[in-house]
């Protein structure tokens, strides 16, 4: 008997991958909090969580006690569940709950197009009991092999702004509102260089499909070699999109308490946290896919099971683990960045995006297009272009007008205000002095 037409081998593979990866991401997001605390502990010369094991306070389970604190994420999750789900009086009843849900949905569906294990050859088989005949064939080991490919990742990734904005507005708290405004301004600003860096990749691969991008890198070398500047810009944008330090202005404690989740607690707060860490995992997979060759390993450790041609089950599992190792390494890098680089001010964040990254990524796109047009799309030519661009930036940067106006304006009351009798160089028709606060007591030279 024939199966319904929509049940194909690809759909069954997709369902299995979705079930596996959803659980993997949820567990990994939980354990990312643990690793984050351990990494920060080692950087700050502390021990970090080391008490909570899986012994559940039962003497019979003494051997599960401690275990380097590995039970901590589980205990945290239970704690979130048992805390009071508190809502302030002025908050919007429905939108206040909708915010975290709208935040966690894009975070959980983003990784659908990541080809974790390349392509797998499924034999034809019959489902017992139902007696449905399923035709075999090559299937993509991804949650959903949609034809828009990486655009899907970009589209879903930017949806998380809605959850943050909703949460900030619904809380009816000035800290939350400002945090949400800042977060949305930051996320839309960093989406532009993110999209432009993706364009440079597409100009070389010529396809939106993740499998084709990995195949191109397996044949021509990883794209981080061809486009190092774009890779750095992309990683920076990923940090900003995930609201990670140094771009976690939305939740900077000194200014805005908790940012958009100031009023949240219990499971609703945990959903924001879960969304942030799932977003990190998805973005790392996105980066590994675009620039680090996906499941492919470079020269020396190349293995025939890690080529696009290998379609066995063993090859699939091996590819999956190589991919996962790259994702974990990138998450570790994100954590190192978080605990070593101080937070930028909001005006600096906007200046970096609009006056630094967007012009540079536009130049990279135009340069790549011209090089592709003249037939110089090899990795060496691209690398030479990147080196030339870096040199040009290095030379031109001191000549650029300063981005911010934090000049030593000698206004009355400021610390640059001249002391009595100090000679200052000024003109009576200085427009800044006339417009702002003309000061007295200085002696014109």
């Amino acid at each position: 008997m024939d199966a319904p037409s929509f049940i194909t081998a690809q759909l069954l593979v997709s369902v299995v991958v979705i079930l596996a990866v959803v659980h993997l991401v949820l567990v990994l997001a939980g354990y990312c909090t643990y690793f984050e605390r351990k990494v920060s502990a080692y950087i700050q010369d502390r021990i970090g969580p080391n008490r909570v094991g899986f012994d559940l306070n039962l003497p019979a389970l003494w051997f599960l006690k401690g275990l380097w604190g590995l039970g901590q994420p589980l205990a945290d999750g239970l704690k979130f569940m048992l805390k009071e789900d508190y809502r302030p009086r002025g908050a919007d009843k429905i939108l206040f709950s909708l915010g975290p849900i709208a935040c966690v949905i894009p975070a959980l569906i983003g990784f659908a197009v990541i080809p974790w294990g390349g392509t797998v050859e499924v034999p034809s088989f019959t489902i017992p009991l139902l007696n449905w005949r399923i035709e075999g064939g090559p299937c993509v080991v991804a949650g959903a092999p949609v034809n828009v490919g990486v655009i899907y990742l970009l589209a879903v990734g930017s949806l998380s702004i809605y959850g943050i904005t909703l949460a900030g507005w619904a809380s009816n708290n000035k800290y939350s509102f400002l945090g949400a405004l800042r977060a949305s301004a930051q996320m839309i600003s960093y989406e532009i260089p993110l999209g432009l860096c993706l364009l440079t990749v597409l100009l070389l691969t010529g396809s939106l499909l993740p499998e084709k991008i990995i195949e191109h890198q397996a044949a021509h070398g990883w794209l981080v070699l061809a486009h190092p500047i774009a890779a750095v810009l992309f990683f920076t944008c990923v940090l900003a999109e995930c609201n990670r330090t140094p771009f976690d202005n939305a939740e900077c404690e000194q200014e805005l308490v908790g940012g958009y989740h100031t009023e949240y607690g219990a499971m609703r707060w945990a959903l924001f946290f879960l969304a942030e860490y799932s977003h990190m995992i998805t973005s790392s997979a996105f980066f590994a896919l675009l620039f680090l060759g996906g499941y492919h390993l470079p020269l020396g450790v190349e293995h025939h099971l890690l080529t696009p041609e290998a379609t066995g089950v063993l090859a699939m599992l091996l590819k999956f683990h190589v991919f996962l190792a790259k994702v974990l390494a990138l998450i570790f890098l994100m954590m190192l960045v978080r605990w070593s680089i101080p937070r930028l001010k909001f005006d600096q964040i906007m200046a970096v995006a609009w006056q630094g990254m967007i012009p540079i990524s536009l130049v990279i796109v135009v340069g790549t297009a011209v090089l592709v047009h003249t037939g110089r799309s090899s990795t060496l030519w691209m690398l030479a272009f990147n080196v030339a661009l870096a040199a040009a930036i290095y030379i031109l940067l001191p000549l650029m007008p300063r981005a911010t106006g934090n000049k030593r304006v000698r206004l009355a009351g400021s610390r640059w205000y001249p002391a009595v009798g100090e000679a200052v160089r000024t003109r009576s028709n200085d427009p800044r002095a006339l417009e702002d606060r003309p000061y007295e007591g200085s002696l014109p030279v």
């Binding site: 929509f6 194909t8 759909l11 997709s14 369902v15 979705i18 569940m81 048992l82 805390k83 009071e84 789900d85 809502r87 302030p88 009086r89 849900i101 966690v104 949905i105 959980l108 659908a112 949650g143 959903a144 092999p145 949609v146 034809n147 655009i151 809380s171 009816n172 708290n173 509102f177 949305s184 839309i188 600003s189 989406e191 532009i192 999209g195 364009l199 597409l202 070389l204 691969t205 010529g206 396809s207 939106l208 499909l209 100031t262 219990a266 499971m267 609703r268 945990a270 959903l271 005006d347 200046a351 609009w354 006056q355 967007i358 297009a369 592709v372 003249t374 037939g375 981005a403 911010t404």
Partner: protein
């Protein structure tokens, strides 16, 4: 327009049915979110108080509502973002096709020239915004 090479779409990927797993995933995510919030409401304690349910403003009594007018710069950034976002949306189909066409044919130069002009229009908007001080947040 130009000579199209085969556009690297697998037969399975052109099928609308490939979005079926996405639907499944969205459904699962919605259920996950609602279930977690509902469970927390059901299991957790509930104690209310006049001071407790006050909006948190670092211990001060809150003054007025938070839904007030905010800085116009956020609006300006959103407007400029739209210019760039729509530009990038148009660039994706161009980039995937441009990488596949024969660059030695006269069409290659046309494809490049047109998109460079298109990007020039965005650069004009960018320079205008820069001179107007749209990107200054200090």
């Amino acid at each position: 327009m130009g000579p199209m090479m085969d556009h690297a779409l697998t037969p399975a990927a052109t099928d609308v049915g490939s979005y079926l797993p996405v639907l499944l995933l969205v459904g699962g995510a919605v259920v996950f979110g609602i279930m977690n919030v509902a469970l927390s409401v059901l299991i957790g304690p509930r104690r209310d108080g006049a001071v407790k349910s006050m909006t948190y403003e670092s211990g001060m009594n809150p003054v007025g509502t938070a839904r007030k007018r905010f800085n116009v710069r956020f609006y300006l950034i959103a407007m400029v973002f739209l210019v760039f976002d729509i530009e990038i949306i148009f660039l994706y189909p161009w980039a995937t096709t441009f990488a596949n066409i024969d660059q030695t044919s006269p069409d290659g130069l046309v494809w490049l020239g047109r998109i460079l002009f298109f990007m020039l229009t965005t650069v004009v908007a960018y320079v205008y915004g820069l001179r107007k001080g749209v990107f200054r947040f200090d």
